[in-house]
C-alpha cells in the first residue's frame, strides 16, 4: 500500500496535524514504507483466531461508587495555556 499526497493530507487532518507542504513527499514515502513493512503480517492466515484483549486475558475489576476526588481546579489550571473564570478557552466555536 502506498499513500499519495491526498491520502497523507487526509490522515494528517484526521489526526489534526499541520504538516508542511514540502514535507508531504517524505511523509508519503516513509508512511508507505512502514505500511509495506506492516503488510507482511498478511502472509499468515488468522481465520478462527480470536484477537487478544489483554496479555493476561483478565476481566475488569470494578470500583465502588464513591466520591474520592476534591476540587483541584487552581492546581490543575496552572498548566493551562489560557483560562478565564475557571474555564479553559478555545477560539470561538460555531455550531
Amino acid at each position: 500500500m502506498s499513500l499519495d499526497k491526498s491520502e497523507v493530507e487526509k490522515i494528517a487532518w484526521l489526526a489534526r496535524l499541520a504538516i508542511d507542504e514540502q514535507d508531504i513527499p517524505d511523509y508519503s514515502d516513509e508512511l508507505s514504507n512502514i505500511l509495506e513493512l506492516v503488510e507482511r503480517m498478511n502472509s499468515v492466515n488468522t481465520d478462527g483466531i480470536s484477537p487478544i484483549a489483554h496479555p493476561l486475558e483478565l476481566s475488569a475489576r470494578l470500583r465502588t461508587d464513591e466520591v474520592t476526588e476534591t476540587n483541584q481546579r487552581d492546581h490543575f489550571q496552572k498548566d493551562a495555556p489560557l483560562i478565564d473564570e475557571g474555564c479553559y478557552l478555545v477560539p470561538k466555536v460555531i455550531e
Partner: protein, 484 residues
C-alpha cells in the same frame, strides 16, 4: 562511592559511612559535570534533591527509614512528578509541570529515594536511539559518537556513567532492554500489569511497562520490591501478590532449562554478537543450566504487528495533547482547527507525527480489520508460541539487540531499519511477558546484552539467573572510560 550498587549504598548509609546529603551532592556534581557531554538529563533537581536528602538523613537519625532511604535515583521523564517538569522528551510538554505523582514515583518517594532529575528519552518513548528527543540526543558513555539506544536512553546512559546508582525506564517494544544492552547495564521489563502505569505518560497502553535500570540484577530486585504491585488506579494492573524479589537471588540454577529460539540466532544477528551470547550461554551451562533449541515461528510477524498496535494506540493516546488544558499551544490560533493542527503540528516531532498518522490510518474506516484486528490476532499467535515453549523450558535466552550501539544519525532517516532492529524485543511486549537484559560482554569495546525471557510473573526467576550470572562474570562491573 559512585561505583557502588544500590545494595552497597544502602549498607554505606546504614553504617553512617556517608550521609544522604553527601551522597546526593556527589551524584549531583557528577550529573552536572557530565550532563553537558552525555545530555542524559532533561531536568536536574538540585534543590529538591538536596532538600529530600536532608529529610532522609533526618529520617535515618530518627530511625524512621527504609533500607533505601536517602539513595539517589534518576527518573525517566515519562513519569509524572508533582511540581517537576515532565516533558516526555517533547516540545509538546516542555512547559508541563506535572500536577501529581505517578504511582511508581509515589512508591519510590515513600521508600525514601532521592530524585536527582528527569532523564532524557525519545519523544513520547518513540524511538530506539534517543535521537527523537526534543532535547537532543543522549550520548553513549562507551563512545560519545554513538547513541545509548532508546527510548530510555537517558536512564541507561546515566546509570552506565554512574551519574545515578539506579534509574527507572519504560519498555513498550524494548525501551528498557535495548538501551540497557547498548549501555552495558541491567534492565528489567516486568510482566505487563506488574508495575502500575498510572502517571506514566502512555505511548501504547497495552504494551507499556515501567521497570528498573540498574548496574546489577540484585539492584533491580531491590527496586522491584519498591515499584511492583497492584494499583487500583490502573485497571490493567495485576491483582496477583508480589514476590520478595531478592529472596531467590542466591538460589542455584542447577537444572534450569533454557530455550534458545532458533529465530533469534538467524542471519539477522551480527556474528560477533552471536559469539558473545553463545559464551554467555556456556557460562550459564557451567552454572548447571541445560539448553535446547526452541522455535518461536511467528517472530517475523512481531515487528509488523507491533507497528500496527503501537501506533494505533499512540494515535489515540496522544489526541489529548491539543493545546487546551496543558502543554504547547500555537501562537494566535485563528480558529479551532488552526489551534489543533498547529499546536500538534508544531508541538510533536517528526517520528511522533509519523506514528500518529500510521495509527490513524490503520484504525480508519475500512482498514481496521486488515490491520488492527489482524495484528491483535497475531499477538495471540505470538503469545501461544511462548506458552508452548514454556511447557518445555523455564526461560528463553538470546540476544537483546541485533548489534551494538548505532552511530549518531545512522538511523535517523530510515525508520523502517530502526523498527527492524527491535526484532528480539517486541514479541515480549506483544505477549506481555517479563524479560531482562544483562551485560554479557563487549564487541569493539561496546557492550552487548543478553536477554532472558520468563513466563508471566516470573521476574524472580529472571533476577535469580542474572544474579548468578553476575556472580560468575564481571561484564556488569565495567565502567566506561572517563567515568570511573
Amino acid at each position: 562511592m559512585h561505583q557502588s550498587t544500590l545494595a552497597q549504598l544502602s549498607a554505606a548509609l546504614e553504617s553512617k559511612q556517608i550521609s544522604s546529603e553527601e551522597l546526593t551532592r556527589l551524584y549531583l556534581d557528577r550529573c552536572k559535570k557530565f550532563n553537558e557531554s552525555l545530555n542524559c538529563f532533561i531536568t536536574i533537581n538540585e534543590d529538591e534533591a538536596l532538600e529530600k536528602a536532608k529529610q532522609a538523613d533526618k529520617q535515618r537519625a530518627e530511625n524512621k527509614h527504609t533500607s533505601l532511604t536517602g539513595i539517589p535515583v534518576a527518573q525517566k521523564d515519562i513519569f509524572c512528578t508533582n511540581g517537576i517538569k515532565t516533558s516526555c522528551g517533547s516540545k509538546m510538554l516542555d512547559n508541563f509541570i506535572a500536577p501529581y505523582d505517578a504511582t511508581v514515583i509515589e512508591k519510590m518517594n515513600a521508600a525514601g529515594f532521592v530524585t536527582l532529575g528527569k532523564t532524557n528519552m525519545d519523544e513520547f518513548a518513540m524511538g530506539s536511539t534517543n535521537e527523537t528527543s526534543f532535547y537532543g540526543p543522549v550520548k553513549n558513555p562507551w563512545d560519545s559518537e554513538r547513541v545509548p539506544g532508546g527510548s530510555s536512553g537517558g536512564s541507561a546512559s546515566a546509570v552506565a556513567a554512574r551519574l545515578s546508582p539506579v534509574a527507572t525506564g519504560t519498555d513498550t517494544g524494548g525501551s528498557i532492554r535495548q538501551p540497557a544492552s547498548l549501555c552495558g547495564i541491567t534492565g528489567l521489563k516486568p510482566t505487563y500489569g506488574r508495575v502500575s502505569r498510572y502517571g506514566m505518560i502512555a505511548f501504547a497502553s497495552s504494551l507499556d511497562q515501567g521497570g528498573p535500570m540498574t548496574q546489577t540484577a540484585e539492584d533491580a530486585a531491590l527496586m522491584m520490591n519498591v515499584i511492583a504491585g497492584f494499583d487500583e488506579r490502573d485497571s490493567t494492573s495485576a491483582e496477583q501478590p508480589i514476590d520478595d524479589y531478592t529472596e531467590k537471588l542466591n538460589d542455584s540454577i542447577e537444572g534450569l532449562k533454557i530455550g534458545l529460539p532458533k529465530e533469534y540466532f538467524s542471519e539477522g544477528l551480527d556474528s560477533n554478537i552471536a559469539k558473545i551470547i553463545e559464551d554467555g550461554i556456556k557460562e550459564l551451562e557451567k552454572l548447571g543450566a541445560t539448553c535446547k533449541e526452541i522455535e518461536l515461528p511467528n517472530t517475523e510477524l512481531s515487528i509488523p504487528a507491533y507497528y500496527v498496535v503501537a501506533p494505533a494506540e499512540c494515535s489515540s493516546n496522544l489526541s489529548r495533547f491539543d493545546g487546551v488544558r496543558f502543554g504547547y499551544r500555537c501562537d494566535e490560533p485563528k480558529d479551532l482547527s488552526d489551534l489543533y493542527t498547529r499546536s500538534r503540528g508544531e508541538g510533536f516531532g517528526k517520528e511522533v507525527k509519523r506514528r500518529i498518522m500510521i495509527g490513524a490510518y490503520v484504525l480508519s474506516a475500512g482498514y481496521y480489520d486488515a490491520y488492527y484486528l489482524q495484528a491483535q490476532k497475531i499477538r495471540r499467535l505470538i503469545r501461544d508460541d511462548f506458552q508452548n515453549s514454556f511447557k518445555d523450558v523455564d526461560v528463553i535466552a538470546g540476544p537483546t539487540a541485533t548489534g551494538t550501539a548505532f552511530k549518531l544519525n545512522e538511523m535517523m532517516d530510515d525508520p523502517v531499519s530502526m523498527y527492524l532492529s527491535d526484532i528480539y524485543t517486541v514479541s515480549v511486549n506483544l505477549a506481555g511477558l517479563p524479560a531482562l537484559s544483562m551485560p554479557a560482554g563487549f564487541v569493539n569495546k561496546l557492550p552487548v546484552g543478553m536477554q532472558l525471557i520468563g513466563n508471566y510473573f516470573e521476574e524472580s526467576k529472571l533476577l535469580n539467573i542474572a544474579h548468578q550470572f553476575q556472580q560468575a562474570t564481571d561484564h556488569h562491573q565495567q565502567i566506561p572510560e572517563g567515568f570511573e
